[in-house]
């Protein structure tokens, strides 16, 4: 079964540093997403990406965040200057384009980001 992959599985960084989280979505999917989950809290939507541009973003996704699809397979989330409160599990997801397929999102295993 095809799956979404994410690297690294765990990233430790110092406050103020830039981090790039990487994802490889399922190959024939067209919608891509990033979510985060702070330990013990709910899954929070960050951003969705379609046709090489952001289609929706939440209030969390401020100027410190950016996304990119640098080639035909990778989808990245960059945090320019990390803060302690950015420590969380970050999930990438992808889905097909159809109306019903949109909500059938496939999630990756996550990257645990620890900011010290």
């Amino acid at each position: 079964e095809p799956e979404v992959t994410q690297t690294p599985s765990h990233q430790v960084t110092q406050m103020g540093q830039e981090v790039i989280l990487r994802c490889v979505p399922i190959s024939n999917h067209l919608y891509f997403y990033w979510y985060r989950q702070i330990l013990g809290q709910k899954v929070e939507f960050l951003v969705s990406f379609y046709n090489n541009e952001i289609s929706e973003k939440s209030e969390i996704f401020d100027d410190q965040f950016s996304v990119e699809r640098p080639d035909g397979s990778n989808f990245t989330l960059k945090i320019r200057s990390t803060k302690l409160e950015d420590s969380a599990m970050y999930f990438c997801a992808s889905s097909g384009e159809g109306e019903r397929e949109y909500y059938e999102q496939y999630f990756g295993p996550g990257t645990r980001l620890t900011v010290t």
């Binding site: 979404v4 979510y35 899954v43 949109y102 909500y103 059938e104 999102q105 999630f107």
Partner: protein
């Protein structure tokens, strides 16, 4: 996006049928109802999706009454491995709001 309300937690025993009900009084005509499951330290996993009446797959059944203001996820004969958080989401597949908002979910604990 229609807001959803679910019980915070539920307990069950192995072999029992578990029904988790989600309220979505403001569901719109174009909205679908989708359920996800999440194990600790893993990403959510799609379980089932429906629009009206009943949907069944190899994992669960989803019951949706005619008014669509609620839905019930039914897990037959649960096992310990079904212990997880279950999320109910309602949305129109991206036409009006191109995001997916998770609530707190229902934490199901299956006991031996």
């Amino acid at each position: 996006l229609a807001k959803t309300t679910q019980p915070i937690s539920m307990d069950s025993y192995e072999g029992q049928e578990v029904n988790i009900t989600c309220s979505h009084n403001n569901i719109a005509t174009n909205d679908y109802i989708t359920w996800y499951q999440q194990f600790p330290s893993q990403g959510p996993r799609f379980i089932i999706q429906g629009y009206k009446t009943k949907v069944t797959n190899e994992v669960a059944s989803l019951f949706i009454p005619a008014d669509r203001k609620s839905s019930t996820l039914s897990l037959p004969r649960v096992s310990l491995s079904d212990t997880a958080v279950y999320y109910c989401l309602v949305g129109d597949g991206g036409y009006n709001n191109n995001d997916m908002r998770f609530g707190a979910g229902t934490r199901l604990t299956v006991k031996p």
